[in-house]
């Protein structure tokens, strides 16, 4: 009885290890910098979407304000480095913790809201964050901050000559995000989250502390998102509020998961692998004139998917009879 379950978990892990190994050797063959850039971004968005998926996919609390945590991660690392000389590695963790704390602080009032009201609250809060950073002089206000170049090193996490170190960091980040999800999926938290998503009242009656479950999901999700933000700041070495905290980032975190399969282990990865190259390539081809076209493409893809495969593309690979019946 349990063997099928254990087998499928093990199969997921095997596939993941295989894919990670494959991704690790790809740069040996792909020397084109543009394509390497796309690969870095794909891994990063896969990881970010995986983080978003924990709160919004598993626990069902749809957030369209994750740009806030992304921006906080980027700003914390950059500010600590430029103002106090703190190495980005510490800044990254600090950003994660600050984001997690803020997520808890925001969750306290907002998790009382249900459904659409919660979504709207997350959008509004992220917009407030954006405005604050626009006007915060110490953090460079609207002009943003340059990360000063201090020479290539792992300690300072700066590399000007090659994208490969970033690529490998993004790969590790993506693997960790996946592993965290894999681990959580078969844990008390994972079950509590799914129960909360499906029916909070029933969950409560079975001993699930709904509020705490949401808070836990929010903290983990925000922490991992901020790590992504910190990485992004190091990668592009310049940040301003509009380049790390706009609504578009919140959307970009949600879309891969939605496309691939919301609340599933593989959904975010699958979605990112399809969406990010698509959007980057259209952007490259259309150049500056194509601003926004990539989003139109995104939109069309999502519409198509929701018509054909409401449970996400992962449904195409489904091996369990479970995913045959789409609820409603």
């Amino acid at each position: 009885m349990d063997s099928t379950f254990t087998q499928s978990r093990r199969r997921d892990l095997t596939i993941a290890i295989f894919l990670a190994a494959l991704a690790a050797v790809v740069p040996v063959f792909v020397k084109d910098v543009n394509i390497q850039n796309i690969m870095v971004l794909t891994l990063m968005w896969a990881a970010l979407s995986q983080s978003w998926n924990i709160l919004s996919g598993y626990c069902g609390q749809i957030s369209l304000g994750h740009a806030l945590y992304f921006g906080l991660g980027a700003y914390t690392t950059t500010l600590l480095f430029t103002k106090f000389g703190v190495l980005p590695w510490f800044g990254m963790v600090a950003g994660g913790m600050i984001s997690a704390l803020i997520a808890l602080g925001l969750g306290y009032p907002t998790f009382r809201l249900r459904g659409h009201y919660f979504v709207i609250a997350t959008i509004v809060i992220a917009e407030i964050g954006l405005l604050l950073f626009h006007n915060w002089d110490y953090a460079g206000a609207a002009l943003g901050i340059d990360v000063p170049v201090r020479g290539d090193s792992w300690a300072k996490f700066q590399f000007t000559r090659s994208k490969l170190p970033y690529y490998y960091f993004a790969l590790v980040f993506c693997c960790v995000a996946w592993l965290v999800t894999w681990k959580l999926e078969n844990s008390k938290w994972g079950f509590w989250w799914r129960a909360v998503k499906d029916n909070p009242d029933a969950a409560e009656s079975l001993g699930v502390v709904v509020f705490n479950s949401k808070m836990g999901a929010a903290a983990i999700s925000a922490f991992m998102t901020a790590i992504g933000g910190a990485f992004y700041a190091q990668y592009v070495s310049y940040i301003d509020p509009d380049s790390v905290m706009t609504f578009q980032f919140s959307l970009l975190m949600a879309l891969p998961a939605v496309l691939g399969g919301i609340g599933t282990l593989w959904g975010p990865v699958l979605g990112a692998v399809i969406l990010i190259p698509l959007t980057e390539l259209t952007r490259n081809y259309l150049g500056g004139s194509g601003r926004g076209i990539d989003l139109i493409l995104y939109g069309s893809v999502i519409v198509l998917i929701s018509l054909a495969r409401p449970e996400g593309l992962i449904g195409l690979f489904s091996r369990k009879p479970a995913s045959k019946g789409v609820p409603q």
């Binding site: 009885m1 349990d2 799914r194």
Partner: protein, 244 residues
């Protein structure tokens, strides 16, 4: 009856001007099957929700296993040993049957292996063993009712609250439901059930408590209760009471 497992003392519940429960004091002893009956709007469901911890009563107190649980949230009451089913089934629809039950089992353990084993046991006990890997949304209504019971039993309750779990089933399904309730009691679980269908409940319960207009009307042996003139008049009107 020595210290009852469950006791409500002078419980009142008002919703604005409406009084759903007025001065309700009931006792349920360990090992009993007690039926909570009464016509529509009698306040059964409200009392039920007060005991389960969905909301606190306006006045009065609720005692479980010698402890005052009046203000305790539902999740904590579940940890103390109160489990419930819902009148309108509330399955976790996107989860498989076994996963639904695991959620319940996780109250007693955090080791996934143990929770899974427990869930399988409970499913077998409830006759849903063959449906373990099906999505809850694919179950037929009577199976969903069983799933509600299974989920509740997985929390290893001392007291099981069944909210109209036999209503709306075919006679055969209801009969097997009755057998399930008997089996549950045989494992030492106390059962308090709200029920509409008198002819099914009455042979099953040890004691019946009749609510009417928010008050306890009568309580006692089922055979006595159904003959009680006030009960008959509450259900059928005064004319029938007189002729009885």
């Amino acid at each position: 009856m020595t210290t009852p497992l469950l006791e409500t003392r002078g419980v009142w519940q008002r919703f604005g001007g409406l009084i759903a429960n007025s001065d309700v004091s009931i006792k349920v002893g360990a090992g009993e099957i007690v039926g909570l009956i009464g016509p529509n709007g009698a306040g059964k469901s409200t009392l039920f929700n007060l005991i389960a911890g969905v909301l606190p009563p306006t006045q009065g107190s609720i005692w479980f296993n010698g402890e005052d649980v009046t203000r305790m949230p539902a999740a904590q009451r579940c940890q103390r040993g109160i489990a419930r089913t819902f009148q309108v089934v509330k399955s976790f629809e996107t989860m498989t049957v076994i996963d639904n039950v695991i959620v319940g089992a996780l109250v007693r353990t955090t080791v996934m292996k143990d929770a899974r084993r427990k869930a399988h046991e409970v499913l077998e006990f409830c006759g849903l063993g063959a449906r373990a890997n099906v999505l809850a949304s694919q179950l037929i209504p009577s199976e969903k009712r069983r799933l509600e019971v299974a989920r509740a039993l997985a929390t290893e309750p001392k007291l099981l609250l069944l909210d109209e779990c036999l209503t709306g089933l075919t006679p055969i399904e209801a009969q097997s439901g009755v057998e399930l309730v008997r089996k549950v009691r045989a494992t030492g679980v106390t059962v308090l059930m709200v029920e509409h269908v008198m002819e099914i409940v009455m042979p099953l319960v040890d004691r019946a408590i009749v609510l009417n207009l928010g008050k306890v009307l009568v309580e006692g042996k089922p055979t006595d209760v159904v003959r009680h003139p006030e009960v008959i008049s509450a259900y059928l009107g005064d004319r029938h009471a007189i002729s009885a």
